[in-house]
Amino acid sequence: MSRGGGHVSALRSFLKKIAQFVIVLATTLLGLVAVTFFIGRVVPIDPVIAIVGDRAPAHVYARVRQELGLDLPLIQQFWIYLKKAVSGDFGNSVLTTNPVLTDIVNVFPATLELATLGTIIGTLIGIPLGVLAAVKRGTLIDQCVRVLGLIGYSIPIFWLGLMALLLFYAKLGWVEGPGRLDVTYSYMYTPVTGIVLIDTLMQGQMDAFWNAVSHVTLPACLLGYFSLAYISRMTRSFMLNELAQEYVIAARVKGLSEIRVIWRHALRNAAVPLITVIALSYAHLLEGSVLTETIFAWPGLGQYITNSLQNADMNAVLGGTLVIGAAFVVLNLMSDLLYRLLDPRTRS
């Protein structure tokens, strides 16, 4: 009886969590859409010109304006947009003529590919570096890590990207240049997931796969470096905090090996806030690093939204903003769940 009751209450709390999540997601997205929508309507750019161009005669201009619904009151325009959006119709992009959803399905995987690799690189190198710096606090190693981080913070990615291209692509020829694949390989595989690395691998096109790897290496390392700079700094400060705690002294007094103290005990506790840091950094990269995408001719979300903004292509901007908003909320939820796994105190 009591066990059954436990199940029911567990289920109930689980459902409650889901409901909470859905409400958070819905209100966030609604707020985002509303703000973006109204900002989009007050920017001093005429969206009709983006479609008909500068030379169109007056009657063509008027017709398109009407087609876009721009002659209706703002509130009504918003309501129409919402109604359509709920049914999955985010309108068509002016610039690409495709439905916005199709466009996003096309551009998001490119950004996802780059952001994920960047975050993996940043995490795998950033955390050990941060730990090392904390443990060897004040030594040369610490200084080096901090300088490395500082450089990552302060050098504009635009400049670093071009320099990296100049050195590793143009001079040394170690990697391929801008773009996701060489022209020769572009038609050797069928896009399925939109992530070139996965598609070429699944279809056994190994030449194309290695070419894609060579193309992605530089931008991924670049983004990786920036997230590394951030993650290593945060790891260092979290670790310093943990290493000063009494339980660390207790562990050392118990005679545990230093490695065990640092990696099993201190890092494990530092990992909780670190998850937030990594999630934030990942979400930041998912927004699409506009500059990196521009330099590396990477057809991702960042370029898409920027280009749309420049042309007052509001459907595309709204669609893109929603995706980013959703990514933030989902990453939040995931870091919440990971918290629960790592920190028993949050489970109650």
């Binding site: 005669p57 007056a58 100049l166 020829g173 391929e176 022209v183 934030l280 521009t294 920027t306």
Partner: protein
């Protein structure tokens, strides 16, 4: 670009706000994150300066190569919004239409006065000048293999008028409307088509307009198959192809790539099997790809980059003058700019040759008349040069001895900003305080079309190869009221050109070529002397091309940029 990054912050901030609520302990992390975002956007000039410095060193010999039967171009193609020739109007899409479709009429790109038939074999004009009869070439085929018939031609022209997209006025100006076009454009034989216009226009005007991409011949059968709700296949053709040109448009992925493939049914088979246009927005990246051999042509390099690649033994520069003029529009609603002496003074306050030789080096020549070189009647004398004393004298005469303050809406591109700054310096020499208002191009255009600027720095490309295209906008304004329907450049600058409007209208009716040319010369002179336009430059388009590429042609208009005979050695 930086402008938009600021707008990004809005969404960035919002998303992050949510996170702060949930993870207050991550607050400092968020601040850092924001700081990072700020730091990434260093002024571009510092970066480009650093680039130029770093690139001064030569490239290594490690060379990649594009496939021998494929021409790969790096270009900024984010202006393409449609590939339906009835809608194509922007630069990049015009070029694609030019290489993939044919029209009734064509002209020699070395001498545009030489008009010839493309799909048409010959044509006649009725004595009253209102009926044009075209005989089509037999044995012409679409890429699909079907023959081009009179039915296709009639369908194509009617379709462009009925769809009524932005460029439709190029045909519509001859009195063709949705309602009458089926009577005005008719098939009169298996290979014969007649077109009836409402007035006896100068025949060259009509023919040039029929050579425009809006008058491209499309395959009726294919479009009927893909028609939905009576749209004449428009929604399909925006991203597909139904033509007969040297190349087939195989694939277009917006902001990524556009692929042309040899049309096996074209009379003169193209030497290349494929042309690939890669969208590379960043010009420094275009340059790296070109020098490395990963692209054969870089289309959008800036003057410094052009100068640098010209030193590369594997690269050559190729250029073609374009029918685009750069000008300042002086809004006549501004009481100072409305004074004739002030308009004239400003014409003496531009350092024309300095702009052409430095900021626009390789990319333009001094040009002060509204008709570009190469057009019928184009005037090539450039009487104005920087003359501060003369300008001061004129300003004093206008009662503005101490100068005045004025703003200029300036699109935030390196080129336009550079020109604006040069003008700011020379204007200041006569006491004219020019304030540059940097803004995005679409924003500047919105303001310009609402006549809310003081000075607008712009460029105007001709819509078709006839002088009327420019005269109609620079020298004519039928209604100068705020609610006027037509918004020619004269209207946008609130200028009533008086008798010039009637003269412009008369010029399109003049059927004697020499007399017509003379009329345009007079119109140009009037605008040059007194108009609210300071025309200062005619654009030259330059491409950096690898040495092994031959017959890559940049023509006078964007639809004349021709890769049909391009080949690689």
């Amino acid at each position: 670009m930086r402008h938009y990054v600021c707008q990004f912050k809005t969404s960035d901030g919002l998303d992050s706000d949510l996170l702060i609520c949930i993870h207050t302990q991550a607050q400092s992390a968020f601040e850092r994150c924001k700081g990072m975002a700020h730091m990434k956007h260093l002024p571009k000039f510092i970066l480009s300066a650093a680039m130029v410095g770093a690139m001064a060193t030569s490239f290594s010999a490690v060379q990649a190569a594009t496939p021998p039967d494929t021409l790969v171009q790096a270009w900024q193609s984010d202006d393409i919004i449609s590939l339906d020739p009835a809608e194509v109007f922007e630069f990049s899409a015009s070029e694609i239409a030019g290489n993939t479709y044919e029209r009734l009429i064509s002209y020699d790109i070395k001498d545009v006065s030489k008009i010839s038939g493309q799909v048409a074999e010959s044509w006649t004009v009725s004595p009253d000048g209102k009926t044009y009869t075209f005989k089509l070439r037999p044995n012409k085929k679409f890429a699909s293999g079907s023959p081009i018939t009179a039915e296709d031609v009639v369908y194509s022209l009617q379709r462009a008028v009925i769809l009524d997209k932005s460029p439709a006025f190029i045909l519509g100006q001859f009195g063709l409307t949705k309602d009458n076009v089926k009577d005005k454009i008719k098939q009169t034989g298996p290979l014969e088509v007649t077109l009836e216009v409402d007035k006896p226009y100068a025949p060259t005007l009509v023919l040039y307009c029929l050579g425009n991409s809006v008058a491209s011949i499309v395959e009726k059968k294919v479009l009927v198959q893909n028609e939905k709700d009576g749209d004449y296949g428009y929604n399909w053709l925006k991203t597909h192809y139904a033509g007969s040109g040297p190349y087939i448009m195989r694939e277009w992925k917006a902001n990524e790539v556009l692929v042309l493939e040899r049309n096996p049914n074209y009379d003169q088979k193209t030497p290349l099997a494929r042309v690939i246009y890669r969208h590379i927005k960043e010009t420094a990246s275009q340059r790296l790809l070109l020098e490395k051999g990963d692209v054969d042509v870089a289309r959008n390099l800036n003057p410094e980059e052009l100068a640098a690649v010209a030193k590369n033994p594997d690269v050559k520069l190729q250029s073609g003058p374009k029918g685009t003029v750069y000008y300042l529009g002086l809004n006549q609603k501004n009481p100072n700019l409305a004074k004739p002496e002030v308009r004239l003074a400003l014409k003496y306050l531009v350092d024309y040759s300095a702009i052409a030789d430095t900021i626009m080096k390789n990319k333009g020549d001094v040009h002060q008349n509204f008709l570009p070189k190469g057009f019928l009647g184009a005037e090539t004398t450039n009487p104005y040069k920087l003359d501060v004393a003369k300008a001061k004298e004129l300003l004093a005469k206008a009662g503005l001895k101490d100068g005045f303050s004025v703003t200029m809406d300036t699109r935030s591109t390196a080129e336009i900003t550079g020109i604006a700054q040069a003008m700011q310096a020379t204007f200041a020499q006569a006491g004219v305080k020019l304030e540059i208002l940097p803004m995005d191009s679409k924003q500047a255009l919105t303001k310009y079309r609402a006549r809310q600027h003081d000075i607008y720095i712009g460029n105007w490309g001709s819509d078709y190869q006839d002088p009327n295209s420019n005269a109609d906008t620079f020298a004519a304004n039928d209604n100068n009221a705020d609610d006027a329907k037509a918004k020619p450049l004269a209207w946008r600058n609130a200028w009533d050109p008086g008798a010039l409007t009637a003269k412009t209208r008369a010029a399109v009716m003049e059927r004697d070529g020499a007399k017509r040319a003379q009329m345009y010369k007079e119109l140009q002179k009037s605008v040059l002397d007194d108009g609210p336009f300071v025309v200062f430059l005619q654009q030259t388009e330059v491409a950096a091309v690898r040495k092994n590429v031959d017959n890559f042609v940049l023509g006078p208009s964007f639809s004349d940029n021709d890769v049909s005979q391009a080949k690689k050695n």
